[in-house]
């Protein structure tokens, strides 16, 4: 099942980082998608002190933040995880948020996917992780879970 975390304000890099670390730290979380207005690419002429931080670190892995976080889709398997996620959100989103249950990440290949990837065998986990106009490698980061 998927859930959508809908903060009442759009999030900056710091809050996104903390929130994602909290969510990704949960065992039951399989996939996470960040959705929001796209940020312009880094401008080399711009004073870096005015730019928002582009790189966040989630579970020790660097991720380039390309959108301003507006919504977070999370795929989980147990309904009880929602309460854990709610706890994480309570901590980092003091301005309020909604959690909605639904289907937010698609699980079937679309016609666009077929045109894009052909008959190549795409693992189930990669389907629905990006929109059809973007390259998968540009948008996707795989975070390995510590298997100790």
């Amino acid at each position: 099942m998927d859930i959508e975390v809908f903060p009442h304000r759009v999030l900056g890099a710091d809050t996104t980082e903390k929130l994602l670390n909290g969510i990704e730290g949960l065992d039951d979380v399989k996939r996470t998608v960040l959705q929001g207005p796209k940020l312009p690419p880094a401008d080399p002429n711009e004073d870096p002190k005015y730019a928002d931080r582009g790189i966040i670190i989630v579970n020790g892995k660097e991720i380039e933040l390309k959108v301003k976080t507006g919504r977070i889709f999370v795929e989980i398997s147990n309904e009880s995880t929602i309460d854990d996620i709610r706890e994480v959100c309570d901590e980092y989103l003091p301005f309020g948020f909604d959690i909605n249950i639904g289907k937010y990440i698609r699980t079937q290949k679309t016609t666009s996917d077929n045109i894009k990837y052909g008959d190549a065998d795409i693992p189930d986990e990669l389907i629905g992780m990006t929109d059809q106009s973007a390259k998968l490698a540009d948008r996707l980061t795989i975070i390995k879970r510590d298997m100790e």
Binding site: P7, H8, R9, V10, L11, G12, T15, P37, K38, L39, P40, N45, E46, D47, Y50, A51, D52, K68, G70, F95
Partner: protein
Amino acid sequence: MAQYYPGTSQIAQNRRNFSDPEYDLEKLREISDEGVVKVLGHRAPGEEYKSVHPPLDEMDEPDDIIRELVEPIDGAKAGDRVRYIQFVDSMYFAPAQPYLRSRSYLNRFRGVDAGTLSGRQIIEARERDLERISKELLETEYFDPARSGIRGKSVHGHSLRLDENGVMFDMLRRQLLNKETGKIEMVKDQIGKELDEPVVLGEPLDEETLMKKTTIYRVDGEAYKDDKDAVEILHRIHVSRSEGGFCPE
């Protein structure tokens, strides 16, 4: 007495205040002339005004009764270029909004051209008049540093949720909250060109003040449907327009 806007709510009253040229808008902050010039980005501070025609006094104009009746504004007298300032107002209780801006600009200022779109509003005038008008717009109730944006381009953001620090989304990040001073600083001019020194726009208004000053009806503020008087007038206009346009003969 001119009737500017119907309604008994605070929002209706605010709309009337803005539209009434006799009403003195409250001055909320101080921005230097140089700051305004920098924010506009049309000329460097201290630079001469460029002109598109010689001063009117030196021009040999044809005799015309209208020319005698209408006193030209300063910029027109000097032959300045026509320049602009454009504002974006967040739907989250910004003090002004595009339609109201146009209505009130045309009531308050002479020699201007106002253009209204759903999310942004532009005003064009001769350069030196524009600077005077911009200063007034930025210093008075028209403007809140967090919920209103000065954006010549890349205006997207008025209908988005606010940033987590309460500032309206801006992909070019022109207005930033300085966490140390608690004031909003304009670090780029209105088209996104970086400034040498940030222009301080002052502290954002708090939620309570914004709710009192806003001219936007919202269900979580004052709902339009609760303003019976305004709704009644709207119905009347709707019915007369429909019947007048129907032409039942």
